[in-house]
Structures are given as C-alpha cells and as structure tokens.
C-alpha cells in the first residue's frame, strides 16, 4: 500500500472519527488527501458522516493488515522493534515531564501547575528539549525503514516551536496539535505496529 494512503488509514484507525480538516496535520496536499479519501471510501474502508470521516470495521481490519504486512515484509523488522523498545524508555521520561508540567507539589499536595514559576516550567521545557532531540534521532532511524515516520518529526518540531514561543498549551492540550497529542498518536501507532502492550 502507498505510504500516504497508509498514513491516512492509520490515523483514522487511531482516532476513529475525525473532522476532514484535522487530516491536514498529515502534511498531504488537499488534492492528494481528497483522492485518498475517495479511494478509501470506495473500498468501504471509511465513510463520511456529516462533517466527520469515520473508519469502518473493514477499515480497521485493513489498517491492521497493512501494519502487519509492512512489518513482515521489512527485512529490518528486528531493528525496528528495537527502536520501539527504545521509544518506551523515552515515553516514561516524556510522561513524567508532562505530569510535572500539569501538576506541582505544593506543601505536600499535588495541585495544578499555575505556571507562575518560570524557573520550574523552564526546567521542564529544557527536559523536553532533550527528549525531543533524542526522539528526533530515533524517528530518523525509524523513517529509514518506514518513511512515513518522518512526518512525526515535523509535527514535533511544530509543537516544540509553538511552545518555545510562549504558547504553553502546546505541551499537553488535547484540542491542539500539542506535543502530547502527537506523542500519543505516535505511541499508539508504534504499539499497534509492534504488538507491544501499553505499560502504565
């Protein structure tokens, strides 16, 4: 399957139903995206419901089949699986940063971070920059095997840049293409591809 088609189908499999506009984050041109959606719809893999695009059960199976096929057909499968394990380590660090970003211990109690202490926030942002640097390296290696991972690099760069320009919601807000939004999508993709279980 074409990588762009897989990208769209996989995205829909993770989010199930999305507004057509939100697919723009995948970095495909409008016409290309439209052609892909028409193709997927003709094959009964997605359906339009009002403003929303939903994946069908058939689509879910197809996404699963594609992921398996991609992995099985790659002669660098073992290498890729190693990267997935490495990502799990990054995941622990990232989630710890996000939690500290949102919750702060004050007098022994966890309270929402009021972001009134720039020094506290800055330390977390510096931690994120380190995680980012390593994640980009890891994604670089992954995209040598499966090129569609390259798209995540750009999306992380965007989130980090917004964050580093003072838009603090780009750390974890779920209604934005925040670092956490992209991270969770990537993590879900990696779990689905590798067949690993989520560790909490």
């Amino acid at each position: 399957m074409d990588h762009s088609v897989f990208l769209v189908l996989n995205y829909l499999d993770i989010f199930k139903s999305v507004e057509a506009d939100s697919l723009k984050v995948l970095g495909l041109s409008g016409t290309e995206l439209q052609a892909i959606l028409e193709d997927l719809s003709e094959r009964g893999l997605v359906k339009k419901s009002g403003e929303l695009i939903e994946i069908s059960e058939l689509g879910e199976h197809e996404a699963e089949r594609c992921r398996r096929e991609l992995l099985e057909n790659s002669h660098r499968k073992d290498e890729f699986l190693k990267y997935c394990v490495a990502f799990e380590e990054m995941n622990k660090r990232f989630k710890d940063l996000v939690t500290r970003w949102q919750l702060k211990e004050v007098e022994g109690e966890l309270v929402p971070n009021d972001h009134l202490d720039p020094e506290y926030d800055m330390a977390i942002l510096e931690g994120l920059s380190e995680v980012h640097e390593e994640t980009v390296k890891l994604l670089g290696k992954m995209s040598e095997i499966f090129p569609f991972f390259k798209g995540y690099i750009q999306r992380f760069e965007n989130a980090l840049s917004r964050l580093m320009n003072g838009d603090l919601g780009y750390m974890a807000d779920s209604d934005k293409q925040s670092y956490h939004t992209v991270w969770f999508e990537l993590h879900e993709t990696l779990l689905k591809m590798s067949g690993m279980k989520r560790v909490e």
């Binding site: 720039p118 800055m122 964050l163 320009n165 003072g166 909490e200």
Partner: protein, 538 residues
Amino acid sequence: MSDKPLVLLFEEANGLSKMDLGGKGYGLVEMAKLGLPVPPGLIIPTYVCRRYHFEGSLPGELLTMLLQKLDVVGRKLGRKFASSEKPLLVSVRSGAPVSMPGMMDTILNLGINNDIVDALARESGNELFAYSIYLRFIKGFSEIVLKIPDRELDKILKDLLSEFKATSLAELSSKDLRNLLRGFLSAVEEKVGKPFPMDPVEQLKMAVEAVFRSWNNPRAKTYRRIYKIPDDLCTAVVVQAMVFGNLGPKSGTGVCFTRNPSTGEKTLYGEYLMNAQGEDIVAGERTPKPIEELRKELPEIYDQLTKVAEVLERHFKDMQDIEFTIQDGKLYILQTRSGKRTIRAAVKIAVDMVKEGLITEEEALERVELDKLTHLLKPRVDPKAQAKPITKGLNASPGAATGKVVFTINDAVKYARKGESVILVRPETKPEDVKGIAAAAGVLTSKGGMTSHAAVVARGLGKPAVTGAEEIQIDLDHELFRVKDVVVKKLDVITIDGTTGNVYLGRVPLARPELVPELEELLEWAKKYGKKVPGLLT
C-alpha cells in the same frame, strides 16, 4: 547615549529606573537608600550592555571608569582592588530589568590571584578559607568566562583530591592545599591553551564582558522568547564588594521570602547554611536548615532579618525574596526582589496587604492573576458530609464531579449534549476517547497511573479524574462495573474526587475548598470593581 554615565555607585544611581539598573541593581540602590546593610558596589547600566552588543566591544573608557569607582568602593571598606594589602574582592552579577532567574551569569570572589590569596590567608588567619575562595573563583571563572563545562572542572578537582587522598579541601595540609591549587590551575590552562588571567583588572574586564554576552546565551534567548521579554532590554552588571559566609562558624548564607510563597502566611520562609557561600545552597551538597532554626542559632541576626523584611515590604509594598550573608556575626543583604508565589499565596498576600494598609483593594486585584483562580475554585467532596467512598484510585486530576455513569464515548457526548452531567468510566483511554473526556464532567479509569493518557487529557481540560482504581471491574459488554459487592450500572450516579482519588456512590455534597478564606474577600472585591473571574460559576 554617550553622555549617560557608564558606571554608577549605588548612591549615585538614585532616581534611575529599573529599566536602566536592572532588577538586582535597582533593589540594591533602594536598599542602600533605606539604610539597610548592603555591601557597597556599583552598577553598569543596561544601556551599556546594549551599546556593547551594538558595537561588539566594551566602550573604551569603561574600564577606567570602573576602576575609579571601585576605588571609592574599596575606600569605604579600607580595602583596595588588585592590591596584595587588604585586597578587595568583588562579585560580578547580571541583572535584567525583568526577572530571568538563573538564565545569565554571575562570577564571585573576583580579584584574587597567587599573591592576593596569601594576603587573604594572612589577614584572615585562615588559610583554608583563603584557598577555598581562590579555588571557587578559578572554578567559577573557568566555567563562566572560559567556558569549560562544569562537569569537567568537577572531575579535575575530584581527581586531584584523590591524588592527595582527600575528599575535601579541609583535609589537606597547607602545603597540599597550595599544590592542589597549582594543579587545578595548570589543568585549566591546559584545557584553554593559555595562561589563566592573574591580573585582577583583566579578570574584571573579562567577567563584565562575559555577563554582557550571557544576555544572548541560548537559554536566555529561549527564556525571552517563551515569556515575551524584548531582546533589547539587556542586562545591567552589578559589581559589589564580596562578603564571606564561609569565614567560620559565625558566618553563613541564606535565602528567604518575607512570607510563605506556597501559602502566603506571614512568616519568614527560607533556608540557610552556616560557614558556606551562596552557591552551596543551590549546589545541594550540604542540606540547608530551615530559617526558623536561625532564630535559635543566631537570635539577633534573626530579629534583624525580620526587621529588614518589614522595611522591605513597607517600601516595595510586596512580598520580597531576599538573599543574605552573615559575615562574622554581621548581617548583609545581597539582593531583594518581588518573590514568586503560588496562586494560593498570591490571594492571601494581596488580601492581607490590603488589611495591613500597604495596598488598596484595586491594587490587590491587580496582584492576582484572576484567570488562574480556577485552580483554587475547584470543588471537593465536602468533608463535613462524612461520605464513605466505595473505592479509591489515584488522584490524577484535582477537583470533584458528580454525574451519571457512561461507558462509551458516544454516550458521553450524547448525554452531555442533553445537558446531563456524566462520568466517563473506562479501563483506560485512547486518543479516540478525547471527545468523550471533553464532554464528560469527570473521568474514572481502572487502569493507568498519574501519567496515563486519561490523566494528562483530563488535567489539560481541567476535569477531575481518578485513574488506576484497580478495585473496580468494568464489564463493557453489560455496561456496568463492580466494586466488591456493589454493582454500578450505566446512568447510575457516582461522585469522583480527583483531589483525593475517592469514588462515591450517588450524589455527595461538594464544597469549594476552604484553602484560602481570603479568596471570598477577593471575589467580593472583584464583584465590587467589576472584574471578571474566569471559571467562577457561582
């Protein structure tokens, strides 16, 4: 620009603004004016830093001016910079008009070399003190001005100490101290490939330039970008006579807030270390003592500090964050600035200060970021109701909510649309569930920790969440969950408290936390002056 003075003694800077003097310089000038015990010093204003970045070099006449003024500083103390008789050592500190904590550079103990260290040892009768000051200077200067990474310097020092079979300077004989110093210096010189500057005037020039340059270091630039601080504000440089907190058992150093920055309570809050220099508190190698203990250890100093705190608060009409040093039983204040505080403390301090007659009600409202009050307004299960939880999970996102139980995203959205309050119950949540979390009044999961997806998303949306409530067994097929012998079906009502992690059957009375009684007063004033408080429903 050219007729503005390049260097100002603290007493000459009266009337200049924080924009010119930087926050640190401004605080020192004000304190000197108030007659507080501030070591004498001088300020190179921010406009000189702007000129430096524009021209690419220090103004030609700066060094001469600097040395002239430093002479005046020295005379006040009966000391002289760069002299091996009664030498004057100085600190060279950055200070921007807007607080940028820890982003720029500071060099301590400057003005020392192979000759001056001996003069200092003779004068103090304390060789260990003199040599540790020298070592600290070489280390700090090498890191900040010569750009040798701190960890490399630490390693050099550690290796040298182990050559002398010691773990700290205190264990060394006078001869070994000298040898270690020599070894450290030559290791540094080898790293940078040139001699270490022994001329105090050269040290001073290099340090001032390094502080100016630090305005544009990557961390400082990032910080400015995030907090929208203009790039052309630039930093001032404060050059101040050193006072030593490591001169012996009657010396020490500390930091304190004039009120508790977490709760706002009116009491000195901070920590100190005896026989130490300021950086030791931050370095964390020795554990500082809470400021309360200073009351017992040095009661006179504690009383004096309390008085200083009062004077500063009356003058600046705000809670202050103070740095101090005790040199041989005498207190010196090295810095004061408005203290950062939690939103909870901000409310209490603002209201208390109105009652103390320091500020007006309207000023109090300006002191508090009203849009952050939602954090304090989050309801909790009323402890007076004495309700018994059916189970407990992790307190993943603060606040409490009551609602009908739903198990699917579609139901969450459907019932929420009808105006019903729902609690989304899931084993764990996935990206596809975000819509459901957004629609629900709260989230309960049986799996997942404090860092789980449900927790992160709920916190981001400001919704209460209890995660990892392992006792509950969710049966998605029959849309129910069990806890021990209790069965909760779809549309049954439950209450969750994300502050405690407790889960209750049915509707339980919620109450706004009584964390800050002053909050009620502040909200009254907000109403009185027509200020909107986002997130205030009642």
